[in-house]
Symmetry: C2
DNA sequence: ACAGATCATCTGTCGACCAGAACATCTGTC
DNA sequence: GACAGATGTTCTGGTCGACAGATGATCTGT
């Protein structure tokens, strides 16, 4: 039987490139790098990078309730609670009772929060540019533009109507997956 | 002293767009979406999406030792241990003693692993395309190309020589950050 | 007024991740 | 060849964040 040679001719071209062409890998690398830098940069800010996003989202107050805020940022609603706790304790945002619905709280930024947000935004922009360093200035803006487009579109139709259909096709892959046993 | 007005004329234009223009937000949205889809799709595969990446990286065996593998994929080396445990138990990869260095293990894919990898790669490509759906075909490839370029470059010079310099500038932001108290 | 749904919060539990120790092995020097 | 220090892998313990479910307050419909 023909055993697969470790360095076959054209197979290698396929397999070697698998990782490099994988969207997930590239995304992961970039995302981790982003987190590393911003975590260091926003070490003093309560929620880290996500605290910043909450602040930013609260400033452009289109998303009133904190549930809307949560799913806009992709965090659990229970997490949003203590995330806001920390930000409020730092005096950057305020929970205000919604006049229309007394269950809900509207999240607004304090003056201090707004001011800090402006400063941090500037710094972050700088860091982002650093991250995209390997690209030409033209490509950088192009990349940003494309990424924003994808993100905003996904954000709207995230429940991915036919994602399930895609998944279903894979059901025919029989793998005896088994988690490692506990002692 | 001029206090910052909460909703000044042109300031608002800035703040509303803060989130939309934030690279981190867009990255997060896309990444989470990617994880959600691939997690569902690779539910049977031991390590999930990362298991796939390990498999892919092991197939293009340029990275022999599992430490190299680990830092190529951005996971802790202790995590790589049981990640490989699971994959090996599923019969997809094999730990083979490195002939040159008996401490190290070379990770190679079994025939079954190689075969499965090919199949999964195809499916994932499909899912990725679905994820990039909102883009035209032309923009899709452009986006991929740019992302790959950024990722590969970052991967090389990740320690970010002047990242520290960027961080240092922020030291002047006095924030009384305080974690929530335990009862 | 009442039943069911919804928002925010609290609690408990579970799994992942990371630092550090331990073991086996390599590399250099003498 | 023998030793000291460095390196690859695995194991262990502690810590932290995330998600499920229950709870209290409030809204909406009938």
């Amino acid at each position: 039987m023909p055993k697969v040679t470790p360095a076959a001719g054209d197979d290698e071209a396929d397999l070697c490139g698998v990782l490099d062409a994988d969207l997930g890998w590239a995304l992961g690398v970039l995302f981790r790098s982003y987190l590393k830098i911003t975590n260091a940069m926003l070490a003093d800010l309560p929620g880290g990078p996500r605290g910043y996003q909450v602040l930013a989202s609260a400033a452009g107050d289109r998303a009133g309730t904190q549930l809307a805020l949560a799913q806009q940022l992709g965090v659990d609603r229970t997490v949003m609670t203590y995330l806001l706790d920390d930000l409020e304790r730092a005096g950057l945002v305020e929970r205000r009772p919604d006049p229309a619905d007394r269950r809900a709280r509207r999240v607004v930024t304090t003056d201090r929060g707004t001011e800090l947000l402006a400063r941090l935004t500037q710094r972050l922009r700088q860091a982002e540019e650093h991250l995209l360093g390997p690209l030409e200035a033209t490509d950088r803006t192009a990349f940003r533009e494309l990424l924003q487009r994808v993100a905003t579109q996904i954000d709207c139709l995230d429940p991915a109507p036919d994602a399930c259909a895609v998944v279903e096709e894979v059901r025919d892959a029989p793998i005896p997956a088994r988690r490692r046993v506990r002692t």
